[in-house]
Each structure stands twice: as C-alpha cells, then as structure tokens.
C-alpha cells in the first residue's frame, strides 16, 4: 500500500483540491500537512492532520517553507507527496524531493495508482503535448490547479507542531512590488501584448486599452524579454496562469506555452496580422489586422458607443 501525503499552504482552492486528491488516493490514511500563516485557528477547516505556523510568510520565503515542510513530514515521508503547483511547489517541491531522494514532477494533471505503481499525466513541450509517466513507487508531485475537484473535507483541528522558524533565504532582503502594479490573478479583463506589436511604443498603447476596458495589462514572454513589460506581467506556463472573463491578446502569435497560461480564460479575443498565427486556434474571436492601424479605429468605435 502506497502512503499518500499532501502538503498545502493556507486553505485556498488549490489547497482544497490537493487535499481532496490525497484523500481520494490514500483514503483516510492520507497524511495531510498544512503550513499556516498566523493566526492558525480558523484554518481547521482545511482538515489537515498536522500543521506548523509560520510568522510573516507573506512573501513565501523558500528557506522557511522548506524547513516547515521538513518539520511536518518528519523522518518517514510518505511515498507520494502532493503539493499544489504554484509558488509553494516552486519554493520547496523539488528541493524537498531531492533531500529525501525522490523524483519530482510538476504541472501534473492526473494521478493514479495502478498495481502499486504511480501513473501521472503532465504537460510537456510548452503545452503542445501531454506525457503519461510511469512514476514508479514514489514521487513529489506538483498538482495543476483546477485539475481536480475540491470535496467536502472532514473538520478536525490539526495538531500544531512546535517549530523553530529559520532565517529567510536571503539576508538584507527587500521586496519590491512591480511598478506595473498589475494583479493578473484577480483581473476580470486582461489585455496582453506580444512581439507582433513591434515596439515598446506600441505596447504602451495597450495601457490605454486596459484602462478603457477596466482590465490589467499582461504580456507574452517575448514582450518581457524585449523589456516592454515587467516579468510579473508575463502570462504563460512559466509566467502566470490566468483565468479572466476576457483575455484580449494583441500581437501575440500564440506560442504553446503562452496558450497554456491563458487557457482558463472565459472569452479569448485575438488581434494579429498573421492570419495563420496559432493564437486564432485558441481564440473565440479573431481579428486579422495590424494593431497600429486598428487601434485608432477601435478607440473611435469604443468611444462612439
């Protein structure tokens, strides 16, 4: 029998999904670990068995998260440890796996145990493909957000462990919020620009569009590399995965890793001058046009309404 565990932070949707998945795979024997921001009390709803409390972990410090995870797991780690893919997995997942000599995988969609062997399906080639892996007898897995249902979980107060919180990873640290101030995660409308815009000046014109539509300003990897946008604005597998009501992609050809990052959007509208751009295959509405020429007309049309 494979021992299944789950490590989550807080009780957001992705944490509940992973806890539910752990119970589905390991039944009541699933070992659940919770990392909490103080105060701890109201987080009992997550139904985790053990918890530690970290003070002031708003910025998700990797060293403190790793120490907390190691304290929770103790000397006998479960065979399969599930972690929501995202900042927590980024900070501790693989390193924890290495320290307990387990393989690791992330962007995992489905997990199954067949004949005592772990079978996982994950994305590959920038979202162009899906790979099914025979993951052997144990692994640390980053579970893709939204891939599993969050079930009703039993209510039980977790056992809060004594924990000596170590120093943060970086000394003399200073957190800086991006000048862009975009909160893509919560935005209802996202206007994103890519290399097809051709210039920083053209990218800046999107700011006005975002303001008009009451949305946030996103970017493709190319636009970030060009320095037109800041890294926190990047949408994609390795940037932010977003799920707004409306995603307006302008001058983005649609590299698969970008498409994966925005695939959760409700309505996707694409503007690109290349009528063969793959973005159109991922869009609900497509406009084949040069943005610089279209924009003055669009501004007029929006104002005229």
């Amino acid at each position: 029998m494979m021992r299944v565990g789950a490590l989550v932070r807080g009780d957001d949707q992705s944490a509940l999904e992973v806890l539910s998945l752990a119970r589905a795979l390991g039944g009541d024997a699933a070992e659940t670990y919770l990392i909490l921001a103080a105060p701890a009390a109201q987080h009992a709803a997550a139904g985790a068995a053990r918890a530690v409390v970290l003070e002031g972990i708003a910025d998700a410090d990797p060293a403190q998260l790793l120490a907390a995870a190691q304290a929770l797991i103790g000397a006998a780690p479960p065979d399969v440890l599930l972690i929501p893919d995202g900042p927590l997995f980024e900070a501790v997942g693989a390193q924890l796996a290495g320290s307990i000599d387990r393989p690791a995988a992330r962007d995992v969609g489905s997990v199954a145990i067949e004949d005592g062997r772990l079978q996982i399906v994950k994305g590959a080639f920038g979202g162009k493909a899906e790979v099914t892996l025979d993951a052997g007898e144990g692994a640390v897995l980053g579970v893709r957000q939204g891939a599993h249902q969050a079930d009703e979980l039993p209510q039980a107060a977790p056992q809060v462990l004594e924990f000596a919180q170590p120093a943060p990873l970086l000394s003399g640290r200073r957190a800086v919020r991006d000048a862009s101030g975009e909160d893509l995660g919560r935005a209802k409308v996202i206007v994103s620009g890519g290399r097809g815009l051709g210039s920083a000046e053209a990218y800046r014109s999107l700011r006005e569009v975002a303001n008009l539509l009451g949305g946030a300003l996103g970017a493709s990897r190319a636009a970030v590399d060009e320095g037109w946008a800041s890294p926190s604005q990047q949408v994609g597998i390795t940037g932010q995965k977003v799920a707004p009501e409306v995603y307006l992609a302008i001058g983005i050809s649609g590299a698969s890793q970008h498409l994966s990052g925005m695939s959760g959007s409700k309505v996707v509208i694409a503007v690109n001058r290349d009528d063969k751009a793959p973005i159109f295959a991922a869009a609900d509405v497509g406009v084949v046009a040069d943005w610089q020429a279209l924009w003055p007309e669009l501004r007029r049309a929006l104002a005229g309404g």
Partner: protein
Amino acid sequence: MTPHRVVYWNIPGHAWMYLPFAILVIVFGYGVYRRYRVWSIGQRRPLGPLRPRLGRLLRHAGLQSRVVKRRMQGYAHVALAVAFGLLFIGTLVVMLNSDFGLPVMQGAFYLWFESFTLDVAGLAGIIALCVFLWRRYGLKPKGLSRQWPDFFVPFSLLVILITGFMLQSLRIYATHDPWGGYSFVGYALASLWGALHLGIPAALVIHRSLWWFHLLLAFSFLAAIPYSKLFHLFTGPLAIFLSEPTRASGLDSPNLETAERLGANFLSDLTVKDLVDLDACTECGRCQDVCPAFASGKPLSPKQLILDLREHAHTRPSEPLQLAIKDETLFACTTCRACQEACPVDIEHVPKIVAMRRFRAMEEGEIPAGLAEAVQGIEERGHPFRGSQASRTTWMDGLGIHEWEPGTPCDTLLWVGCAGAFDPRAQKAARALANLLLSMGEDVQVLGRRESCTGDPARRAGQEYLYQIQAQQNVELLQQVAPRRIVTMCPHCLQQIKNEYRDFGADFEVVHHSEYLSTALITGRISRAAGGKRVTYHDPCYLGRYNGVIDAPREVLAGAGMDLTEMPRHGTDSFCCGAGGGWAFREEGAPRVNRLRAKEAVDTGAEVVATACPFCLNMMSDGVRAEGGAEVQDIAEILWEQVSSTLVKD
C-alpha cells in the same frame, strides 16, 4: 610682322621666380607624400581587368558625367575645370617658349589660342566661381559647409584670374599691343585705363608688382593643393579608377580563419581605395542630400562619415576607428548605396561602413537589438523572422508547386526567400508569383524545407562569419540542384546568389522575377492585360541601384495594363524604403524613412504603389497606410490579378 608678344615683358629678374617655384615643388611633394603614406598602409586588392576601370574613369572624371547631374553647379564645375585645363596648357606654352626656346608663341596660334581662347577660359572661370560663391553663400544649401577654406579656395582662384586679366590689360595698354583685340577681356580693360588716364610709368609699376603678386598667389595655391580638398584634382580620378567597376558586390569576402582582425577598427584594416576615398572627398554634400538615414534625422551623414575618417587619418592614424565613428552612426546606414550613386568621385561609403560593422559585430558582439535577434534566427533556424509561425512551405499550401527532390533534374528554380516564406504580407506576393509561373506551364520547383537564408541580413549587419557559412551551404546545395535558371522573388536574394556568391564558387543564371515576367510578356507566354489602375513604382535599392534592373518591372506593369506615374526620385536615384542594412528587423524611431518615401508615393496620386521586393512591400505598406494612401502591391500580385481576371472574363 608675325603676331606675338614679349614673354616676361616688364619683368626684369623674372628668373627669381624659380626660387618660389622650388619651394612650391618641395611643399607640394611633401603634401603628396604625406597623403600617400596614409594610403600605403591600406589593404591592397587586385585590380582585375583595366578596361571597365578606364571606361569609368573616362566617363566620371573625363566627361564628369556624374558632376553634371546637378545642372547648375555641374556645368559650372565643368567650365572651371576646362578653363583651368586650358590656362594650364597656356602656361606650358609660355614655358616651352621661354625655357626651351621653342618659338611657339606667335602667329595664328598665338592669336586664337594663347590670346582669344585663354581669355574665354578666364572669363568662364570667373563666371563659374561666381556661381559657386553665390550658391554657397547666397542659396546656402544644407549640404555645403561655410568655413573659411570653403571661401578661401574659390576666392583666391577668383583673384588669380582677375589679376591675370589686369596684367594682360596693363601690358596691352602700355605697349599699345597691335593684336590686343584678340585678348578681348584685357583689351576692354585696357581701354578703361585709357579712360582713366593712367600714366604709363604708373602702369609699369603696377604691372610689375601685380605680376609678382599673381605669381606668388598662384604658386601658394598650387602648393596648397595636397593640403586641401583641391587635392581631388588628383585623388578624384584615382578614386574613380579604383572603384568597383561592376558594382556586383562592393564587399570583399575575407578569409576569417586567417584574418588577423575581423572587420576594420584601424586605418590599416581598410583598403587602399578606402583611404584614397577619404582624400578624394570634395565635401559637395550630394551623398548627404540623398541619404535616407540623414533625411530621417539619424546620426549619419555619409559626407560627415568620410570627413570624420579623414580627420582621423590625418590626426591620429594609429588610433582605433571607433574614436571617430560611433555605433549609432555605423548602424544607421541602410546600405541603399544612394550616396555612392551620387558621389561624383565614386567614393564607396557602404564597404567602409560594413567593414567597421564587421569589427563591432564579430570582435565585440555588438549588434543593435532586433537585428541581433534576426541574425540569431538565421543561425538557429535558417531565417531571420523570429516568432513566425509559418514553416518554409506554409505559403505554398495547395498551390501545386513542386519541392525539389535530390537526384531529380530542375529546370526553373523559384528561390522564394525567407520573407516570401515567413512574412504574412510577402507570402501573398509569393503565391501570386508562383501562380503566374505555373500558369505559364513552367516546370517550376522550389527548395522548400531545404531553402535557407542567403545570409544577406547577417552580412549587412557585419556578421560575416555566419554569412559565409550560409553562403557556402547554399552554393553547395544549388550546385547539387543545378537548375537551368534561378528566379528570385527578393532583390536581396538576387544580389547574393547572382553576385556575392561568386566569391564562393557560384556561377548560376539568376534573374529577378521582374526580369523573368517581363521576358514572358514579351515572348507572349503571359498575355498582356488592359484596363489597369494608375500606379507608381518604387525601385528597390538592391534591384535598381545594385543590379541595374530598372525597366523590367515597369514593363511588367505596362504588361498588366497599368498606367505608370513616376515619383520624383526613381530608377537609380530611387529613395530607400528604410528596410535595408538590417533595418527591416529593427525598431525605428520617428521620423521613419518609409514615411518619407510613402509620402512621395502618395503624392503622385497613384491608386496603387507597386514594388518588387518583399521588404519594400512591407515598409511601403506600413508607410502608405500611415500617409492615408493607396494600396501597395508587388508587381507579381498586380500582374496576376490582372491576368487572372482576364482569364475569368474570357
């Protein structure tokens, strides 16, 4: 009595003039030596066949065919050159007569040449100089500077000519020269002295002092030649003689494995021709007037580039060229060669710029953003269009054109080029061209997946190493394909495969699609159409200036039934669209070159702007749209539209 005049009349002790003459010879000789010393450190290149070089020398230096392209100052220059040529011969005649004792200064020759003709020459010279001074200081054109040597040179020439006439008139006046009327200017002035009642003794004194003044001024002037832009008297013809007569490439293909330095960062890395060019510049500013980079406010003036290099060569010849030429200047050039086309003494600006770019790109890894990505794209993917979602064969989906397979023969090979394959706008032009070729029943094939960038953007960016790799691979592949002829859609590909690949063993029959289509129209393999719109045609630099293909695209437009209106600048005088030299891949600040050219096109009132290059097609499309103008199409698209609509009607 035989008509004559007494040589050195009223000048006792004239033999003293050999003292300043000796000084003149020494100063002149030293000046030439100083210049020569700089030239001699340049790289030597074989001259090749002399005939084309001599032909060009005759046209450009002898007949000054480029100088007279600007009518007023051009003919003034010819007048001045001929005048001083004649006056120089006149002086030699005096020398023959007095120093060699040959009695040539007499009779009809004396009257008609030595007197009459030289007076005409002197008068023409004065008029020409007045034109020059009036243009520089009255009209104040932007291309001309107004510093003291700019004034001093024509002014002293003017003084030399005027004092010459004064001397002549005083002699006629004092000697009552019976043949004075042949020297009509001097004669007229002499009668003025008469009217002023100038005393003979006074006239003699004035004559004598003026003679020495005239002589010393003329000698000083001659001595100053190698130290001023007047040196173009010698360096101009030399630069013309040394210039690339076929214009095939203009760029050399150095062996990079053995090169001591990649590209040029010292005078000694440039060629002898490059260094002679620096001393041949007359600062006429014609290159600057036609330069798209200068016109769009970029930090490049081809004239200033040459002057800065000249200054560098004369003041700090062993220092790196980077001190003289900044990167922004170097990479501003579109390599359109308008400057070289305009230069009366065939200065070659572009090879110098590319040589210095080579140093920056290869030794220092400095290539401007955008262009660097394009170059990297060529290296990694075989094409410069980063981010393109097309494959090499997307454009030809459903056309029924064949991809060449190894081991099969090939008659006509259509070399599509990266733009035709990857750029959405150019793909349409490629499809139109393929349709035209297929409609002719041609056995036309493409290389498809096997095609790779010719390397032109890399070469123009200075990344010669990557270029040479691409060139060698392509030449090898084409030799294997061995097509009967190659048709290119892109003038840059044409320039490479036809001309620049010769250094890598290529010898193919290559034509641009405009040439191929115009021949097909003439031979009737494509039927002519009628009832087209008003069109203006933008000459791509690499087609017109580089390859001399001017008429063919116009014949294609005529064959398509279009009604052609020319822009003010066309043919070899065409103005760049702004894409050359790697600018197609760079972000350009305002004002953009393509807008300037687009405005010119829109102002013709044409309904369609035609061109014959995928890069021009894109640049002109963007520009014309911004100027609120017409449709921009490739000549192949226009012809195909016209021909296929005729087919439907039939």
